[in-house]
């Protein structure tokens, strides 16, 4: 078991085409850092000066991490983390 990070389609060019990357870590931050170790190109696109960029939302099992403990949110094996660009609505 591991934490599964889902990569949006247009960003898979930075993960060797993988839709899901399995990593380990205790928090969202640690999991994303582990993702960055495997695929450095994705990290610089998700983070800007250590902060998640403005137009990205990160979800832990369908919950926006801004409503949890943000990057410090605890994760465990089997959790699903999704990186999702903000989209318009109406």
């Amino acid at each position: 078991m591991a934490i599964r990070i889902h990569i949006p389609t247009p960003m898979r060019q930075h993960t060797d085409g993988n839709a899901v990357v399995e990593v380990s870590g205790e928090t969202i931050q640690a999991a994303l850092d582990a993702l960055g170790e495997k695929y450095p190109a994705i990290t610089q696109r998700v983070f800007d000066n250590g902060q998640v960029r403005r137009f990205i939302n990160i979800y832990l099992n369908d919950e926006d991490i801004r409503y949890l403990d943000n990057l410090e949110t605890a994760v465990k094996d089997g959790d699903e983390v999704s990186i999702i660009p903000a989209v318009a609505g109406g």
């Binding site: 389609t9 247009p10 369908d62 926006d64 660009p85 903000a86 989209v87 318009a88 609505g89 109406g90």
Partner: protein
């Protein structure tokens, strides 16, 4: 000014067929992309926007040319991102700009107009403008299945226009939406998915669906094209005022896109020489039960703080985490405008006021716009002696529950003069 084109003088000009779009461009870093169904930059996740060749547009448009075309949004086709003729929604737009003298008197202002998209064709909201562009583009890209996440009006529009275009549509909505808006989607044969959650949760699910199934989602992978359709509200207002812009405009805000596209339209008209000056103060309107953008403007924040559980009768504006919030805040501030929010009672009161002064039945979002305008006028933020346009974006027949308790029930009588005449004497207002 009226710049006559050198060689172009008919509706089917050759250059229009290939369009004036260079491609897509990131709003943050400027990275460019081709014309493709992609909504965010793969460098920094910034939203993508259509990039036009304005010098070429300038050479190909004139007031006279545009005015000779049919009165639809496609009159401004050079500024819209489709190639060739619109495949979907050829009749959309061209809605009335009404001089609203009776409402002006009620609000205590001199010059007031209403842009009335409550009567936009075919589904009675401004969303038909964005959807006709998005679905025309979907056809160009070869999508056979399209979809959207919606608070209602977009659902109606995608369903109807997809049906007319022979496209299969999947519509994702919060399950607690107004019954009329659900019915007004199902009637067109759309596959309607009610999601137990907020709009933002529906939207997140839709994005995941879009990635998995590679369908044309109007507000996801087709969004850069979709959003451009909103500019037609601004083009029409400027033309209807006699090729100029108002001093003040009040716009309802949900995702924060429309409020950016109206001034963009004014800027584009000025850029190609169709109007002299695009200066207009822009005011955003939100319901108090979901006011992330107006709250940010009033507090001087650069970006909004999301509202996790919106709670308002204005469900079409109940987007707690508006994707274009950042740009809307910036735009409002730079224009010299402001933003406000109003309670459900104020919204319903304003819907009734609009109906009784102008004969326009707007949906709850229209009540938000009118009520916010009233508040801004009373605050002195909008001067009483300057020109104001209010944007009404949807029809009240879709949100009847919001006002049903405020209206007098009909008086029931037998078909007899004997019973009717006393009513006139007792309640003269009843026969007005």
């Amino acid at each position: 000014m009226n710049r006559a084109p050198a060689t172009i003088n008919s509706y089917d000009e050759r250059d229009v067929m290939s369009g004036f779009v260079r491609g897509l461009k990131c709003r943050l870093c400027g990275t460019t992309y081709g014309k493709e169904p992609l909504n965010f930059c793969t460098e920094d996740f910034g939203p993508l926007e259509v990039d036009y060749d304005y010098d070429a547009i300038r050479q190909n448009v004139s007031r006279d040319l545009l005015e000779r075309r049919p009165d639809t949004m496609w009159r401004f086709r050079e500024f819209l991102p489709i190639d060739g003729e619109p495949a979907v929604g050829a009749q959309v737009g061209g809605t009335p700009l009404i001089k609203a003298d009776r409402l002006a008197e009620a609000l205590g202002v001199d010059k007031l107009w209403i842009k009335n998209d409550a009567v936009n064709f075919p589904t009675l909201s401004f969303k038909d403008r964005v959807v006709s562009v998005a679905l025309s583009k979907a056809k160009e890209f070869g999508f056979e299945t399209v979809g959207c996440a919606s608070t209602g009006n977009l659902a109606n529009s995608v369903a109807a226009n997809s049906a007319a275009a022979g496209l299969t549509s999947y519509i994702f909505i919060p399950a607690d939406l107004e019954a009329t808006k659900i019915l007004g989607t199902s009637i067109y044969g759309a596959k309607v998915i009610g999601v137990r959650g907020t709009y933002d949760e529906v939207n997140r699910l839709c994005t995941q669906v879009a990635f998995k199934y590679n369908w044309g989602f109007v507000n996801i992978n087709l969004r850069p094209f979709y959003a451009e359709g909103s500019k037609s509200v601004g083009f029409e207002i400027a033309q209807q005022l006699g090729w100029r812009v108002p001093q003040h405009i009040v716009v309802p805000m949900a995702g924060g896109s429309l409020i950016g596209k109206i001034p963009k339209a004014f800027d584009e008209l000025a850029r190609v020489g169709l109007i002299d000056d695009a200066t207009c103060k822009v005011y955003g309107a939100q319901p108090a039960g979901c006011s992330p953008i107006s709250t940010a403007v009033k507090n001087g924040w650069d970006s909004h703080r999301p509202v996790r559980k919106p709670n308002t009768i204005a469900k079409s504006l109940a987007i707690g985490d508006p994707a274009d919030g950042y740009f809307a805040i910036k735009l409002i501030r730079e224009s010299g405008g402001w933003a406000e929010d109003v309670t459900d009672d104020e919204i319903a009161d304003a819907m009734v006021l609009l109906g009784r002064t102008e004969g326009i039945f707007a949906e709850t979002a229209g009540g938000v716009t009118v009520a916010v305008a009233r508040k801004l006028i009373e605050q002195g933020r909008i001067p009483r002696n300057e020109e104001i346009v209010l944007c009404i974006t949807g029809n009240g027949l879709k949100t009847q529950d919001a006002v049903v308790d405020r209206l007098e029930a009909p008086t029931i009588i037998r078909p007899s003069l004997e019973e009717f005449s006393p009513l006139v004497a007792e309640t003269p207002a009843a026969v007005v």
